[in-house]
Amino acid sequence: MNIVSRVTNIRGNGARAAGSRRDHKSPTLRSHDVKRVRAIVSTDETGKGGSGAGAPAGSAGTGRNLIQLITPDGERVSHPEFDPWVKDIGDEQLCSLYEDLTAIRRIDVEATALQRQGELGLWPPLLGQEAAQVGSARALRHDDFVFSSYRENGVAYCRGVDLTDILKVWRGNASSGWDPYTVNMATPQIIIGAQTLHATGYAMGIQNDGADSAAVTYFGDGATSEGDVNEALVFAASFQVPLVFFCSNNHWAISEPVRLQSHVQIADRASGFGIPSLRVDGNDVLAVMAATRVALDRARRGGGPTFIEAVTYRMGPHTTADDPTRYRDANELEDWAAKDPIDRVKTLLDRKGLLTEQFRQHVRDRADAVARELRAGCIGMPEPEAMDVFKHVYSAPNSWLDRQEDHYARYLASFGDPAGATSQEGAR
């Protein structure tokens, strides 16, 4: 792609109303811009970007084009292969997707604020990855089952997880937030890539049951280096299970750029396992939805697993404990801000004349309501009891643990006031 036109695109950040790009008087390139141009080259949508590591010699990759249906400028471009998969997405559904994207960003921002205010121990922001999560999650049926990492809180929202439940684990009030069977989504997995095997096994179960549902597993670019992910790909291919591998290539695994994980495009790894893959613009909610539907359809028809690489970008830190300014160039962030997943839908809606003041107000109101609910639910969350520490380790009595539980209850009781004892323990 022509570098100058790309710079122009950045200038024409989709956050502005349609048409404003051309009106915007771009100043001539300054030295700052030249530096940025370099960053663009190293972080283009080949997904090999990341300025934190030097380009490895002989870095390969087919440079496969991204599946894209909405450009960063908010233009709906036709794609003969994938258009049919989203032909049911009319104006109303597009507005609804925009609402979800906006609500999820607001949840993420609010949760980050709650962490800064000391209400959460930690939060893994998903800023910038909203389209990858919404587009895929909204392609699923209720009876499909999701095994995700810790960053798919937008997916959880789409699955219908209660907002407060999303925060429980991050506030430290429970070991997990929800019953996986109520929403058919496992609770967040923290061990990188471990969940891909669980999804594979679950899909083996679906296959044995003769059902037409599918399992979907979310993981990042860093996870593709893990043995578990590679073993999951082997098993999924061997048994041809109904499974979608959804890799959110957000370019960073804490401080490590994606090029440290792979010398080929992530999607190209799948072919080595005999698994078909799709490489999609992860910031394009419609393209992500189309790709996920293709993969799900294959799974339901007994066609086996599919690997999707959603090329997106982690615009925030790894978690609230991380400081990305220590390892990545601010220009890179700017480049990706120009490819923002929400702005492009907004621009598209505007082009279609759907971005009325009434609709905008509706979206704002919903985001506000979601934020209020999240905050109230977080702060009002009931505190766990001291003896909860012993619960659910086993499903049946265990003489070792029962004895420890009994002894600790006696210890607490020795204070006379168990509540007082608990608070003293907590203060130590």
Binding site: F145, F147, A174, S175, S176, D179, P180, Y181, A186, T187, I191, A194, T196, L197, H198, A199, T200, G201, Y202, A203, M204, G205, I206, N208, D209, A215, G227, D228, E231, A232, V234, F235, S238, K391, H392, V393, Y394, S395, A396, N398, S399, W400, L401
Partner: protein, 336 residues
Amino acid sequence: MTQMTFARAINSGLRKSLENDPKVILMGEDIGTLGGVFRVTAGLQKDFGKHRVVDTPLAESAIIGTAIGLAYRGYRPVVEIQFDGFIYPAFDQIVSQVAKLHYRTQGAVKMPITIRVPFGGGIGSPEHHSESPEAYFTHTSGLRVVTVSNPQDAYTVIQQAIQSDDPVLYFEPKRRYHDKGEVDEGIDLRTATPMGEARVLTEGTDVTLVAYGPLVKTARDAATAAADEGISIEVIDLRSLAPVDYATVEASVRKTGRLVVTHEAGQSGGLGAEVAASITERCFYHLEAAPVRVTGFDVPYPYSKVEMHHLPSMDRILDGVDRALGRPNSLSGLEG
């Protein structure tokens, strides 16, 4: 009652489980067509099909990880880790996932997974084929760990393990696979000795000797030999390693006042240390002597020409018994 080998008894228990519960599914390397490298699963794939007795690719972490997914889906997977020393690639999935999922999901997701592990030495194998890794797992909360010492228990306990809603590591003493014994295949699991209970094998009054798995036979031999010298040993087959049935061990030690624990695994941080410490805490004033451990050494499992030095033998166990009794022994005259 039927006379059968240890391996055959496990096979029969697995068969019964497959027959009784359509959610039971067997997975592992070479367990299908071949019937397992020890033939423990011989004939099962032929009778129950490839979807219930699954030959998997060679990836231990995936064997456990996919079993977790199947458990999520309501299955009751029984997986085989081909040899003790091959379990480590699956360690993360066992310790971080299998053991914690019930806790993590606050009881919403059950993990009724049975992990069968042939373990222990004495068969002249190369490296990684003779290990006793049980303490890694007894130290991990959320797991139940059992081992068996005779064909009847092998048959019964494998079925109890499969019925358990908690994950169970079922350690099979591979050097006893070909030992024969009487097995009552009609045993009622509801009235059989529960999986978590230890068993007093020979009653005695002088020393309590705690053993499990492959060394139970050695311990019994030691008790027989000691009887000739007028020493009465009470042999306890621990059976459950996590949790240990301390009530049974404690009752015995209160009677004998002396405790010897033996296992093939290395001494430091091993199960013997845990048993000795717990019994000391529970009935210190009934002990006439410090508990004694007779174990493998803190060495990598040795090559086969010297493994007999590593494995506790009947004589080494009796030397430990002498120590507990304050009789002349190999360490007489040494402090501590």
